[in-house]
Amino acid sequence: MAAIASALLLFGGLRDTGPRSQQDRIDAITSRLACPTCQGESVYVSRASAAEAIRAEVARQVGSGLRTDDETIAYIEQRFGGQVLLLPRSTGIDSLVWALPIAALICGAAALGVVFRKWRTADDGDPSADDSALVDAAIASKNLTDSNS
């Protein structure tokens, strides 16, 4: 079963889907760019005029076919200023936004490991006389109800 699943996954994941349409490229690029005047919306989403301008420029770049997606984004960033990136950079203080989740993942996994380890070696102690009495009473009443039914 695992073999079938991985074969299907590999086949589906790697097969060639043909070239992307220009509109698909424009959509992909603009959804990585921030609209400079509208607080956190992407150019893809926004209908503000500043976003229209960037969208038109992206369409022109894609239409000319000279730049790749990443190059187009770099070009737009250079032309419209550094605030058009929706994705924080991975340098300087901005890299924290990427590093912290990874650190949190490692901490979480480590904490889980420690906790499971502790529990596995934990000694619950022997049951006290009270505990045994409780269990005996419960078993007795269960036997009683079972034999009645």
């Binding site: 079963m1 079938i4 699943a5 299907l8 996954l9 086949f11 589906g12 994941g13 097969r15 889907t17 349409s21 509109q23 698909d24 959509d27 959804s31 990585r32 921030a34 607080q39 956190g40 919306e41 992407s42 893809y44 989403v45 926004s46 209908r47 605030q83 990136l85 929706l86 994705l87 924080p88 203080i93 901005d94 924290l96 936004v97 912290l100 989740p101 949190a104 993942l105 979480g108 996994a109 904490a111 889980l112 906790v115 499971f116 502790k118 529990w119 596995r120 934990a122 619950d124 102690g125 419960a138 078993i139 009443s141 269960k142 079972d146």
Partner: protein, 655 residues
């Protein structure tokens, strides 16, 4: 000053003042009853609860009355009222800006307070119940104060105003404005109830399991409202905002998602505490985080610190909310520390491969999820504070980080439901996972055959199939044994919620990965083609009312019924709102938006077409989640307390 409006304002504020005083005395009565065990004092508590509810209803009614009678002497009516707003949207205009929405918060909170009090009416001499009521009253007092002071909805406006702009155009063009905000608030505010009991349990030291069981349904309903509110919000976004998306990772959306994540984690991990008595500190922390995140979210989005499409204008409530948030966190941490000795539970988890082990992993994933969302939301603030430059953390960031967490959650969702408590052998796992795993392979096979590509979406479909196999296995086994009763109860209802979640995950993966769009320039009589469909402009219709001018392009898809994307210009606000038109289908939606400029007589329209596969399953999944929550709230068949913890419910023979 002595005009009619001045009177309404004064009465409204008087109601709020009564609410403040009633909450104060309610809190005093609850706490003193808890300390002195004086039953005469305890009998006063319900009266104060009824009093503050009456005060809140009164204040809200005055606001509605002012809005309905278009009382433009009030500043709030000047801001969101208009003679041209239709009655329904005018009614909803009360919660369309900060002050009114806080008033609705007050109303719902007072409603919960009186409901909890009614529920506890026979237990008013119980110390824990008293403390819980005390917390409810204190929180109520805070919100009454907020509404009375910094966010006063009853302020008297400038004289000589006889009309206003009306609510934000987005809040007056779809019926959902009636349901999305109130439902979301029912969820947010509902979290106060389990929080109050958590604090009560900590103060009294009765941190055992009793109160958890007791508040289980309250938590479940609050969670259900939150879920349904969020889903209605995304439906609204899709049907109204016209950018073809359902979720934009906007700060306000994130603020509603954060408490949902921690509440979801709690709903799962509380089962470990019920069954095994463990994870007490963790569960209390989750409840406290959920409640404090609702306050933090309100602070972030309602104080002007972060801007978003949902943000209201700046106001003075920021410091209040931030202080309240700090107090909640400090008091809770202090209490948890103080009761640390009692919180330590005996017992241990034997194996990672067990139901409780899976719940722990689930909780770590949810905690990570919450952390990522919180970090992404506040990170621009941090950078701005440290380096005084602004950056944007947007959709791509969240998509990249949340997708793997989602896949991990789907994986655990596939395996956990078949795991027994305590320990599982590998033979047992392979027997129980056999059919669910084949469901996963089947889903993957179908996806590949219909042409899906890419590792992430394919993994989502495969794991979705696997996880729904596990969920359905539980439901099928339960209904075989118990008939229709196998559909109710926490486990079975929970599995139906799981199926809903899986449908949502699949719909999101499909629509995010395989959406295609195209701009089309249509001329009447000449159809255009995209993605195997034809689009023909029939005509352009213009309609003028006193509040707006609306231009619709009637477009026939595949020669069939006409769809009418529109652009509406709200004349008083001077804002253009595009309204999409969606042809919904089981396999995918065709989503049309009209792009400006449009001229009525030109016989031409510029439209954008989005083909969005499987999107309708998002709403079906949301409906299933709501249905499953309801089913889970009904008591199902319980395991006999004397049976082994691994025994199947409703049978004595172990599988």
């Amino acid at each position: 000053m002595f005009a009619a409006g001045g009177v309404s304002s004064s009465i409204g504020r008087a109601f709020l003042l009564v609410g403040i005083i009633g909450s104060l005395f309610g809190a005093l009565a609850s706490i003193s009853s808890a300390r002195s065990r004086d039953r005469t004092v305890a009998r006063l508590i319900p009266r104060f609860a009824i009093l503050i509810f009456a005060a809140a209803v009164g204040a809200f009614a005055i606001m509605e009355y002012a809005m309905i009678t278009r009382d433009f002497s009030m500043a709030y009516v000047q801001k969101v009222g208009s003679t041209a707003t239709p009655a329904l949207y005018n009614f909803a205009a009360v919660w369309s800006a900060l002050e009114g929405s806080l008033l609705m918060w007050v109303l719902i909170l007072a409603g919960y307070t009186v409901a909890v009090c009614f529920w506890l009416r026979k237990k008013m001499d119980d110390v824990l119940a008293n403390w819980a009521m005390g917390v409810m009253f204190i929180v109520s007092m805070f919100f009454f104060l907020l509404s009375f002071g910094p966010a006063n909805p009853f302020a008297v406006g400038a004289p000589g105003v006889f009309d206003g702009p009306g609510p934000n155009p987005l809040l007056q063009n779809h019926i959902l404005v009636m349901f999305h905000p109130p439902l979301l608030y029912l969820g947010y505010v509902g979290v106060t109830v389990p929080f109050a009991f958590a604090i009560g349990a900590l103060v009294t030291g009765r941190v055992g399991e009793g109160w958890l069981l007791a508040t289980r349904r309250w938590t479940l309903f609050a969670w259900g409202f939150l879920t349904f509110g969020i889903i209605l919000g995304s439906w609204w976004s899709y049907e109204v905002l016209g950018w073809s998306g359902v979720w934009a990772w906007d700060p306000v959306e994130n603020a509603s998602l954060l408490p949902w994540i921690t509440a979801t984690a709690y709903i799962h991990s509380v089962l470990v505490q019920e069954r095994r008595g463990m994870l007490r500190v963790w569960n209390l922390s989750l409840l406290v985080s959920t409640f404090s995140l609702t306050i933090l979210g309100t602070f972030l989005t309602r104080s002007g610190v972060l801007n978003s499409v949902h943000a209201f204008s700046e106001s003075a409530i920021g410091p209040w909310l931030l202080t309240f948030f700090a107090v909640i966190v400090l008091v809770s941490i202090g209490l948890i520390g103080w009761r640390g000795d009692r919180l330590h539970a005996p017992g241990s988890i034997d194996s990672v491969v067990s139901r409780e082990g899976a719940f722990l992993i689930n909780n770590v994933l949810f905690a990570l999820f919450a952390f990522v969302v919180l970090l992404g939301t506040v990170f621009p603030l941090i950078v701005e504070a440290l380096q005084s430059r602004s950056i944007t953390v947007g959709e791509p960031f969240f998509d990249q980080l949340v997708a793997p967490i989602g896949l991990a959650l789907l994986t655990i969702m596939a395996i956990a439901p078949v795991l027994p408590w305590r320990k599982a052998s590998s033979e047992l796992l392979s027997t129980r996972l056999f059919w669910p795993a084949w469901c996963g392979v089947g889903a993957l096979g179908i996806s590949v055959v219909v042409g899906a590509t890419g590792f992430m979406p394919l993994l989502t479909f495969a794991l979705g199939g696997f996880a729904s196999g596990s969920a359905l296995r539980q439901v099928v086994m339960a209904t075989r044994k118990q008939g229709l009763r196998g559909l109710v109860g926490r486990t079975n209802g929970g599995m139906i919620v799981h199926v809903g979640v899986i449908l949502i995950a699949v719909a999101l993966a499909a629509s995010n990965s395989f959406t295609h769009s195209q701009e089309l320039f249509l001329k009447t009589g000449t159809p255009a083609y995209f993605s195997g469909h034809s689009f023909e402009l029939i005509k352009i219709v213009e309609e003028t009312t006193d509040r707006a001018i609306s231009v619709q392009a009637l477009i026939s898809i595949d020669g069939g019924k006409a769809y009418a994307p529109a652009i509406t210009k709200y004349t008083k606000v001077g804002m253009n709102i595009g309204t999409p038109s969606v042809k919904t289908g089981i396999l995918g939606d065709i989503y049309l938006t009209l792009e400006p400029p449009v001229k009525q007589d030109s016989g031409e329209a510029h439209i954008k077409v989005f083909i969005k596969p499987l999107l309708v399953w998002l709403w079906i999944g949301g409906f299933l989640m709501a249905l499953g929550t309801l089913l889970a709230a009904f008591p199902g068949r319980r395991r006999k307390p004397t049976d082994a913890t691994s025994a199947l419910i409703g049978s004595n023979d172990v599988e």
